[in-house]
């Protein structure tokens, strides 16, 4: 093979460039990972701030604070920001940081494209968030942008559509990069079945992304042409069908929710063995379960549409297929519990978050299973029971996994230990408030409170007040998270290379903080 990069060493190879342009031009996976993570953190506060506006309006019955249209716009934006601006970029950031290190590669496969994948995000969100300041306000048709309501949107409509295209470009490029990295940059000799589960779950996630983001792009393109170019995809008068939009959207949307959870499964599969000091139970079945979940995710989409009037056979099929997902997911949960079983556990902050994940994700998953039962879902659909379900899988699911990962790898990133006391406080305060916030939503949902409403009957008043208290408590306790992170970046006890005494994997063989370029020569273990 040809020797690479001969005569191309005029740049400083061993440290970052100087000055702020370092961040603009960087091709280093660690820099880009950091940028992604910081971006996600900022967006978390923006999206969370919107959630707090929602909760504040819902604190009492009656409209006190905002116009209903603005309320809808907050709901829509909150979801778009949280999904596309927080969870996805945070996972990509973790992938950037960890995948090359975990597989013994030098960097991502396509470092320059990697830079572009990141630097699209701030611009895409600038475009999206700017719609809030346009006349008529931002999108207010829900994050699902159902036609024909979304077609009625104000002038900002086109901006929203394009911002989704824009983010999509970033996601597709990012995923392609990850696929190429995993297949092509592994240390010589490392087989696929030797890869850490985080790498596996991301590989599968990347495929999901490549497969469904373009479908979303197609769906919103049809919205655009229906509105501006006279097509009638979603208009019955012209032979189209509003429900068709929903089918196409959820063909994207359902795999999307697994995009938001599979990397979390990988993170938890790294953390639990470390703190149980015991190898992960059932590595191979974890891989197969992840692949099964991904496969099934393509054939369950219409469980979001049980009330649209599908033929009976369709409702049956989607009910059974959806229920099936519980089986591989259950395998994962059982494997984690079996990993803990007869381990020698300690409960540092990452482990606390991992256990929080395990418990509350299971609660959310079980309510998901209830939603899958079509006749019951007809009562649950579009109520707060659904809101409770997906916040249980998203907040203590996806968000907790990101927090767990942050605490887990922060010493490797910064070279300093974080403040364990404050980390634990963060966990406990968050967990208490989180349940105060989301658990009551099950009750009001079952009792009949629809979602996406700014005002409600008095019957729901008490639980909503409690949820709002929980929301503010949970929201402000995230300031502790920020405090711990920045304190850790600035200093603290020096971390050892291994950091955790039960940790395994290549990332723990390099110094803490990880050097700017990790594996310029492939590591030797696997050859």
């Amino acid at each position: 093979m040809s020797t690479a990069a001969a005569g191309h060493h005029e740049h400083d190879d061993h440290g970052p460039a100087k000055g702020w342009t370092r961040w603009l031009y960087t091709t280093n996976h660690k820099d880009i990972g950091t940028l992604y993570l910081l971006f996600a953190l900022v967006m978390f506060f923006i999206g969370g701030g919107m959630a707090l506006i929602i909760r504040a309006e819902l604190f009492q019955p009656g409209l006190q604070l905002v116009d209903p249209l603005f309320f809808n716009s907050m709901t829509t934006m909150h979801a778009l920001v949280m999904i596309f601006g927080v969870v996805m970029p945070a996972f990509v950031g973790l992938a950037n940081w960890m995948i090359p290190m975990m597989i013994g590669g030098p960097d991502m496969a396509l470092p320059r494209m990697n830079n572009w994948s990141f630097w699209i995000m701030p611009f895409a969100f600038l475009l999206l968030l700017s719609t809030l300041f346009m006349e008529g306000g931002g999108p207010a048709g829900g994050w699902t942008l159902y036609a024909p309501l979304s077609l009625q949107g104000p002038d900002s409509f086109a901006f929203v559509i394009f911002s989704i295209h824009f983010m999509g470009i970033s996601s597709v490029m990012g995923s392609i990069n990850i696929v190429a990295t995993i297949f092509n940059m592994r240390a010589p000799g490392m087989s696929l079945m030797q890869m850490p589960l985080f790498v596996w779950t991301w590989l599968i996630t990347a495929y999901l992304l490549i497969a469904v983001i373009p479908v979303l792009a197609g769906a919103v393109t049809m919205l655009l042409t229906d509105r501006f170019f006279g097509t009638s995809f979603f208009n019955a008068a012209g032979g189209g069908d509003p429900v068709m939009y929903q089918h196409i959207f959820w063909f994207f949307g359902h795999p999307e929710v697994y995009i938001l959870i599979l990397p979390a499964f990988g993170i938890i599969s790294s953390i639990i063995p470390t703190f149980a000091r015991k190898p992960l139970f059932g590595y191979a079945s974890m891989v197969y379960a992840t692949a099964s979940i991904a496969f099934l995710s393509f054939i369950v989409w219409a469980h979001h549409m049980f009330t649209v009037g599908m033929p009976l056979a369709g409702e049956m099929f989607f009910m059974f297929a959806t229920m099936m997902i519980s089986v591989p997911t259950g395998v994962k949960v059982f494997n984690w519990v079996a990993t803990m079983w007869r381990g020698s556990m300690t409960f540092e902050t990452p482990m606390l978050f991992a256990i929080g994940f395990l418990v509350m994700f299971t609660i959310g998953g079980l309510s998901g299973l209830m939603l899958a039962i079509t006749p019951a879902d007809i009562q649950y659909h579009d109520t707060y029971f659904v809101v409770a379900h997906f916040h249980y899988v998203l907040v203590p699911g996806a968000i907790y996994s990101i927090m767990a990962a942050t605490y887990y790898w922060l010493p490797k990133w910064t070279g300093n230990m974080y403040d364990e006391k404050w980390g634990k406080i963060h966990f406990w305060v968050s967990t208490v408030f989180l349940n105060v916030l989301f658990f009551p939503m099950h009750f009001v949902g079952l009792a009949g409170m629809p979602r996406r409403i700014p005002d409600y009957n008095l019957q729901f008043a008490d639980w909503n007040a409690i949820a709002t208290i929980g929301a503010f408590g949970f929201g402000f306790s995230q300031l502790i998270f920020v405090y711990v992170i920045f304190k850790c970046i600035k200093g603290g006890a020096k971390a050892t290379d291994e950091v955790w005494d039960g940790a395994e994997g290549l990332e723990w063989t390099v110094p803490s903080p990880a050097p700017y370029h990790t594996f310029e020569k492939p590591p030797a273990q696997y050859s």
Binding site: T3, A4, P111, M113, F123, F166, G218, S232, F233
Partner: protein, 287 residues
């Protein structure tokens, strides 16, 4: 998998940020254009985007010609191109999905065929509407029209594209034999066929608008017809431009018998466009 002894890592990347600004301007400009604003911002964004691509690809080409890329980098490029094409397939999948859905579900439902409320839908809302494909909906949006016949233009276009696939393959064999001149010649033929296809597509659109009254707003038929053929035509344009660039590179003595990834990527793309057309020809024109 290749096993490098050390890795290729590029350093600073200045073009991505330019690309982001360009896309931002393009999208924001396009959106304001749709809302009745001017086209200047959009044009600026598009121009900047093109400029960025020229410079970025220029850098890549230069590095490639300097032999800076290892076999491993080559593999990364290949995988990326493959999965990029896959993502494009899924993009077209959305529109094909729309076509199938409209034909197998919405149309019959509106005309009262099927379970559930179909009968009521037709009886109460659209009585008198009978489903035949193609149609422009129970309200006949866009007015009376004639459908686009599969003969002669689309057949001709099919032949053009298929031929271009063959010429492209001949060019590929040529470069594999190290015969650069032959490659350039056949690439020229491929590009010419590609642009001819686009031209004929333009003629077809002209026919549709001028004589058949078949327009984008001709109900679901016009929507799916123009969306699918339009995006396809756009991809043909892009593919032909890429091939053209590859051809110019060939004229500048780029590529060798063993190292011509750019050519291969362009050829894959071209074949992908070809296959999509076959799908279109069958499902949009014939069936």
């Amino acid at each position: 998998m290749s096993s490098p002894s050390s890795y290729y890592i590029p350093h600073e990347a200045k073009w991505p940020i330019v690309g982001s600004i360009a896309l931002f301007a393009f999208f924001a400009g396009f959106a304001s254009l749709l809302n009745g604003g001017g086209w200047v911002i959009m044009a600026f964004g598009a121009a900047l985007l093109v400029y960025m691509m020229i410079r970025w690809f220029g850098d890549v080409i230069a590095e490639s010609e300097n032999g800076q890329y290892s076999a491993q980098v080559d593999v990364s490029f290949r995988m990326s191109m493959m999965w990029f094409i896959f993502s494009e397939v899924m993009f077209f999948g959305a529109f094909f999905g729309a076509l199938f859905y409209a034909r197998t579900f919405s149309g019959p439902w509106l005309s009262g065929i099927g379970e559930g409320g179909a009968a009521a839908t037709n009886a109460v809302l659209w009585s008198g509407f009978d489903y035949v494909w193609p149609h422009n909906g129970p309200e006949q949006l866009g007015g009376a029209y004639e459908k686009m016949h599969w003969f002669p233009l689309p057949v001709l276009n099919t032949l053009i594209l298929l031929t271009s696939g063959v010429t492209c393959t001949i060019a590929h064999h040529a470069i594999k034999e190290g015969n650069r001149e032959k490659m350039v010649k056949w690439l020229l033929a491929t590009c010419a066929l590609g642009f001819f296809f686009v031209f004929m597509q333009g003629v077809e659109y002209y026919e549709a608008y001028a004589h058949l009254n078949l327009k984008m707003n001709t109900g679901i038929y016009g929507s799916t017809f123009f969306m699918l053929t339009g995006f396809h035509g756009f991809h043909v344009c892009m593919g032909a431009i890429i091939l053209l660039i590859v051809m110019f590179r060939g004229m500048r003595k780029h590529f060798s018998a063993t190292n011509h990834f750019a050519f291969e990527a362009a050829a894959w793309y071209w074949h992908f466009v070809d296959v999509v057309w076959l799908g279109l020809f069958i499902f949009v024109y014939i069936l």
